[in-house]
């Protein structure tokens, strides 16, 4: 029985591990998938830039002189890079924090509420997370670049 089954069965597509280069570009993620992978990306980004974050804490808080140096980085630049590049780095960190925060609150809500776990609420809360974090990032980015 098994022999006839194997000989007549057509070769079916096999899905094993996702290849980042050949499979990912054609993947269409739902909103919850975007929130999930961006939760990781934002976490790893903040981990990688942690020394810069602490450097900002250090120079902004240690003394009035170092505070002046801190603010000048975002206008005059540092390490050969102009100020707006450092503003972009800061904005990336702002987005990462906001997204990680909002996605984390969504996680905590799902931990305490069964109603929040079903497919429809998961999809809508994911869209809320993306909307809030991106809108707040846009607002703070406009402030950072002096648009208002």
């Amino acid at each position: 029985m098994s022999e006839t089954a194997t000989t007549t069965a057509r070769k079916r597509p096999e899905f094993r591990n996702i290849n980042a280069l050949t499979d990912l570009p054609s993947y269409r993620l739902p909103a919850a998938g975007w929130v999930s992978i961006l939760h990781r990306v934002s976490g790893v980004l903040m981990f990688a830039l942690m020394p810069f974050i602490i450097w900002m804490f250090d120079t902004s808080i240690s003394s009035e002189i170092s505070y002046a140096r801190f603010t000048s980085v975002f206008t005059a630049g540092m390490l050969g890079l102009p100020g707006f590049i450092w503003k972009l780095v800061a904005l990336a960190l702002i987005w990462a924090y906001l997204h990680h925060f909002c996605a984390g609150v969504r996680h905590l809500r799902m931990d305490i509420s069964h109603a929040a776990v079903d497919k429809r609420s998961g999809a809508s809360s994911a869209r809320v997370v993306l909307a809030i974090s991106l809108l707040l990032t846009a607002a703070l980015g406009a402030k950072l670049f002096g648009l208002y």
């Binding site: 990781r40 976490g43 790893v44 903040m46 602490i54 984390g104 609150v105």
Partner: protein, 121 residues
């Protein structure tokens, strides 16, 4: 301690998982509350942000202690998260171990620096 040998031994799974899962939630709540406190103090201060208004937020011993607790919470939270990432994407044991050791060095170094900054000014 519970018997964990002979016929009673636990042979499968990573049983530190639940503890770390819970720790990640608890530290997340601590950091979220801290974020709200700091943000509220920044937003409620009148006029443009100056060195005095910014450093004033962290100047009291209470706020320094809270910040210290949050730094330790962050340390553990990031350790759990980064270890999850390595467990998912890095299969060779040697590379995974090296990355985990690097993560611990990175995090302990960062935490030491942040704590020093906190009590220096």
């Amino acid at each position: 301690m519970a018997v964990n040998y002979g016929s009673k031994r636990i042979v499968v799974g990573a049983h530190y998982g639940t503890r770390d899962w819970l720790a990640q939630r608890v530290t997340a709540v601590l950091m979220a509350l801290f974020t709200v406190i700091v943000l509220a103090r920044v937003l409620l201060s009148k006029g443009p942000i100056t060195y005095d208004s910014w450093s004033g937020i962290f100047s009291s011993q209470l706020m320094k202690t809270l910040t210290f607790i949050v730094i330790i919470a962050l340390l553990y939270h990031v350790w759990v998260g980064m270890r999850d990432v390595f467990m998912d994407y890095i299969k060779p044991v040697g590379i995974r171990l090296a990355l985990q050791v690097f993560t611990i060095i990175w995090l302990v170094g960062c935490a030491g620096w942040a704590i020093q900054v906190l009590w220096r000014f």
